[in-house]
């Protein structure tokens, strides 16, 4: 099913759709408040864009620099060209150390690689420790948002889930109560874990370390207890200098949730005592995006989720309607770049309102990318023959002004005379919930010509 069909389902529950829209708009408003209080906001965005542009164009250099400096600090670096290889590296690291229990903090990359099912299949117990991710993991659902994984759920839904899995009180859906229950449940998992996996927000080429940002402290807690720290990092996460973080840390949390900074912004340049730290650098299709000038900027993304929160389509269709690991504008362009055929409806799940491009802290031209993906959908013959035929005929008409005038005249003559049940039959998609405009007797051109003749 494509986005329109899944979106329709989401919209069908009007009350919930409205609630979802409001909940996420609230996050967007918090972001506005933080941003409008900072005079240098637009400068920060511009500098961030320049850093990313510079880095992506020298990505090979910075990745090697990162590797060299990380190794000098005693960290292990692995390279995975695709999801499969990434998963194999993780499994091997775990098995070689006899690790059976893995705690994970948020990592969209491991979602993209479908790491959890792979590890589970191979006998590893995987626990997602971010509260939102744990909730969706228990429910066997993918996250519906990259920053707020369980934003599609109401507290009653969470209450029921915890009742079943964590044996919380029946009917108690107080967020503080449920969070405490999760804290107690996960504390045990942290203490018993053999290994911990984190994502990476930034990889610093200059110092060979990584930065992970969380509010819950789950990434830090996991890796400061378990002896094995595995960090999965997409190749685009590299920044050249430590000082670049002064720009990105100021942009990231404000864009994501309206906070000035996340509770924890942790810089890892060493494992814990007697521990090991492994960084897996993952490509999985990213280096192919580099060759395309139109879509290259999508690799600048710092995964703040601001474009998702601002997207009027996302807020009303929910993250699961996209059918791709990352929803919303950034997910639609990444998904289309990765597999256009599978994600052919995503570039069209957008009104081209351009709010995303302007909210983006690194100034990715998101709406233009979606516009351009649409051309590739047509080029590859994926638009659908009916749709294409209609536009082809329309173009033909538009190339012949007399034909255009004639069809307009006919429409204005016939449409007003049609009985309602025919005019508003099934084929009139516009008319399902909207009236058609009242057709006038004369076109502007006719009125204009009349007027000119009278002169």
């Amino acid at each position: 099913m494509g986005h329109p069909q899944l979106a329709k389902k989401f919209v069908a529950n009007n009350e919930r759709m409205k609630w979802h829209d409001k909940a996420i708009w609230f996050v967007r408003k918090k972001r506005d408040l933080a941003v409008h209080g900072l005079d240098e906001w637009e400068d920060l965005r511009e500098i961030a864009k320049q850093i990313k542009t510079h880095t992506i164009n020298k990505l090979d250099f910075y990745l090697e620099e990162f590797e060299k400096n990380a190794q000098q600090k005693g960290l292990h670096v692995h390279w995975a060209k695709d999801a499969e290889e990434h998963n194999e590296i993780v499994l091997k690291l775990l098995l070689n150390r006899g690790a059976k229990k893995l705690v994970k903090s948020k990592s969209m990359l491991t979602e993209e690689c479908h790491l959890n099912p792979y590890l589970e299949k191979n006998g590893i117990k995987v626990i997602d420790t971010d509260l939102g991710e744990r909730i969706v993991q228990l429910r066997n659902e993918p996250p519906s948002h990259i920053v707020l994984p369980a934003i599609h759920l109401k507290k009653e839904d969470v209450g029921k889930t915890f009742e079943k899995f964590l044996k919380t009180q029946k009917g108690n859906c107080d967020p503080t109560y449920l969070t405490r229950a999760a804290r107690n449940h996960l504390r045990k998992k942290f203490l018993n874990a053999d290994a911990a996996l984190t994502g990476v927000n930034f990889g610093i080429a200059q110092t060979g370390g990584i930065v992970v940002c969380t509010n819950e402290g789950n990434a830090d807690l996991g890796v400061s207890l378990a002896k094995l720290h595995i960090a999965s990092m997409g190749i685009e996460k590299i920044i050249p200098r430590l000082e670049d973080l002064s720009i990105f840390t100021r942009l990231l949390a404000r864009s994501a949730t309206g906070q000035a900074i996340t509770s924890y912004t942790s810089h890892f340049h060493a494992p814990i005592e007697h521990g090991e730290m492994h960084i897996i650098i993952v490509d999985n299709g990213r280096s192919n995006i580099l060759q395309n000038e139109d879509f290259k900027q999508s690799l600048h993304c710092i995964r703040c989720g601001a474009c998702i929160n601002t997207c009027p389509v996302y807020r009303r269709s929910g993250g699961h309607s996209y059918g791709y690991t990352i929803p919303g504008p950034i997910g639609s362009t990444l998904g289309a770049s990765k597999d256009l055929k599978a994600n052919k409806t995503l570039p069209f799940a957008c009104t081209l309102c351009a709010s995303c491009s302007n909210v983006c802290p690194v100034k990715i031209d998101l709406h233009n990318q979606l516009y351009k993906h649409r051309q590739n959908v047509v080029k590859r013959g994926l638009l659908g023959t009916k749709k294409y035929a209609i536009l082809k005929v329309a173009t033909w008409v538009m190339k012949h002004p007399s034909l255009f005038d004639f069809s307009g005249k006919m429409a204005r003559l016939i449409v007003p005379k049609l009985p309602r049940n025919i005019l508003y039959s099934k084929v009139n998609i516009w008319g399902k919930k909207r009236e058609l405009p009242k057709f006038p007797q004369k076109s502007f051109k006719e009125l204009y010509k009349q007027r000119e003749e009278k002169k």
Partner: protein, 246 residues
Amino acid sequence: MKIGLFIPCFMNELYPEASMATLKVLENLGLHVEYPTKQTCCGQPMANTGCAHEAGELAHRFLKIFKNYDYVVAPSGSCVAMVRENYAQFLDGEDGFEHLKTHTYELVEFLHDVVKPIRMNSKFPYKVGIHNSCHGHRELGMASMSERNLPAFSKIEKILSLVDDIEFVTLKRNDECCGFGGTFCVSEDAISVAMGIDRVNDHLNAGAKIITGIDMSCLMHMQGIIDRDKLPIKTMHIAQILAGES
């Protein structure tokens, strides 16, 4: 100054009054305006659906028809954005394109940036909600965007303020999309309608009697919802207010 009037195809067929009002507004200011009758469509519906080849053909046609005017003015932010932002792909390097690109204006923008009138000779004693259509808003820069941290301004409000007795309402979401989105309005009709309902309600709750804007397509979409749901509000193209119609 020779002005070519560019009337979006669907406005020509469905909204002759708003189109005529556009002509009137310009003529009332003493401007010489010509409407080239061979014009049809700028190609935006094709381009927004990814049909680049088809859009390109119509872009070439458009250039031929309009390249000899000093200015091209249209009552639509969206169609003007097509010319200014998206024609380059098809017309870059073509004779006359640079001029066309830099001299094609949306009506209100043209008044604000070029004509700079000090009065409008019109009266509109109603509470009005301004719909900031996305392409005009974010591509043409008709007003400051809520996403950005830049000084606040609105060319639309400034020009409408020249109309006597007009009152503006304050919206909760000043620049959210109405969900029209070109072919989006039918390919994603469920979301499109949901967005439209929210937009109309924002204006209603703010006490507006009239929703106005620079894009008839957005207004047509919202009017379709208003008519179906029989809501006590109506839409009106900004040209009609500026021309003194009520």
